[in-house]
Amino acid sequence: MSLRIVPANAQKSASVQDTAGSFGLHDTLQYGPRSIAVEVKSQGTLKERLENWEETQDNLKLNLQRNAHGIHLPMRVLMERKLVTSHPNFMGTSNLHLDVLMGRDETIEPADVFLGMESSNPLDIRKEFEKRYKA
């Protein structure tokens, strides 16, 4: 059980998992041809730090909640989040209920300024449908 505040600099080896399609292999249609340069991960860059930031802080809070109140509290929190993300909205991409649960409904982040609404590309909607009809 880790109480990290800051994401660790994970030294990963080459991996295909990030670009894997539904077969588990590299998805050339979406991501282009395979190249070793892209797959070998370098150690701790700003990109990984930023991408894992919210997750690390969230893990810290959940761990502290577990220590203080028992396993039921983080379980309920995660259950509520799952409930809220289970119903995909086709018109908008911003999930207001999820924002309220994650505590970011009254803050503005650089992502809101720079990405806006175009963060959902058409391919993702197909992925959402895949997820729905798989399970």
Partner: protein, 274 residues
């Protein structure tokens, strides 16, 4: 396998990292972000805070803006001076200003300086110093006047008088010899003007005019260009010719209309009421 989608993305596009690292290894120099040499100061006096800044923005050896504004608005009684990369300071202060307004609306209370300081330091720490913003944050809230300095990596100090930027040493020298606790308003303003002037005249990265901002419990006064020690002299020679210097030599009028005939189409100008 995509990451859990409950977390928001960092907002920046990192798809060129591999290419940039490759080019850097080949010897291509990475482009340097334009940074502003600056002198920014803040000082505590009897009734509140005085913030001061110079007004020069540089792009390498060139002056990009002779009269830029470095004292940014956070809330009604909190202001922030920014040194470092100009875009970073402007964007960071604008973002924190929006977040402070939202926070004040949500809590129903007047915003506090420590809130702004915490938001700024957490954001700057997250970016590991890549956001090059060195800030002097000052304001008066319900707990009194506060003055903070925030460095690009996220460390903060709470002090009665602070200077930041390339001209900070020159300005700090003036502060160290002139600052006293519980100064009057005029005395504090003169001290700040002298500190910025020291930065303007002794540092290449600072120049042009002096901006000041006096924040007290009841009011905030923004003194833009309170002192202009670098006014450009009037040019001695004039390059415009006085009207009537030369008389005309020749006048020729050529009509472009050679022949004009009007052919009415339909019933002419009458309205068609059929």
């Amino acid at each position: 396998m995509s990451k859990s989608s409950v977390y928001s993305s960092p907002g920046f596009d990192f798809s060129n990292i591999v290419r940039n690292n490759f080019l850097h290894e080949k010897g291509l120099p990475l482009p340097k972000a334009t940074s502003t040499g600056t002198t920014i100061v803040g000082c505590l006096f009897k009734d509140g805070i005085v913030l001061g800044a110079d007004t020069r923005a540089t792009e390498g050896p060139i002056v990009a803006d002779k009269n830029c504004e470095k004292i940014h608005y956070i809330t009604e009684s909190i202001r922030c001076c920014g040194a470092g990369t100009a875009a970073d300071t402007e964007f960071t202060t604008a973002l924190i200003s929006s977040n402070m307004e939202l926070h004040a609306l949500q809590s129903g209370r007047k915003p506090r300086v420590v809130t702004a300081m915490t938001m700024l330091k957490q954001m700057l720490f997250r970016y590991q110093g890549h956001v090059g913003a060195a800030l002097v944050l000052g304001g008066v809230d319900s707990t009194g006047p506060h003055l903070f300095t925030i460095h690009p990596h996220g460390s903060t100090d709470k002090l009665p008088y602070v200077t930041m930027g390339s001209g900070s040493l020159a300005a700090m020298a003036v502060f160290e010899s002139g600052w006293q606790p519980n100064m009057e308003r005029e005395q504090a303003l003169n001290l700040v003007k002298a500190a910025i002037a020291a930065g303007i005249f002794n540092d290449l990265g600072s120049g042009s005019n002096v901006d000041a901002c006096i924040i007290t419990a009841n009011s905030t006064e923004m003194l833009r260009n309170v002192e202009m020690p670098n006014v450009r002299v009037q040019k001695e020679r004039d390059y415009k010719f006085r009207r009537g210097t030369t008389a005309w030599k020749k006048e020729e009028i050529r009509s472009l209309v050679v022949e004009e005939t009007v052919t009415p189409i339909g019933r002419g100008d009458e309205m068609d009421t059929s």
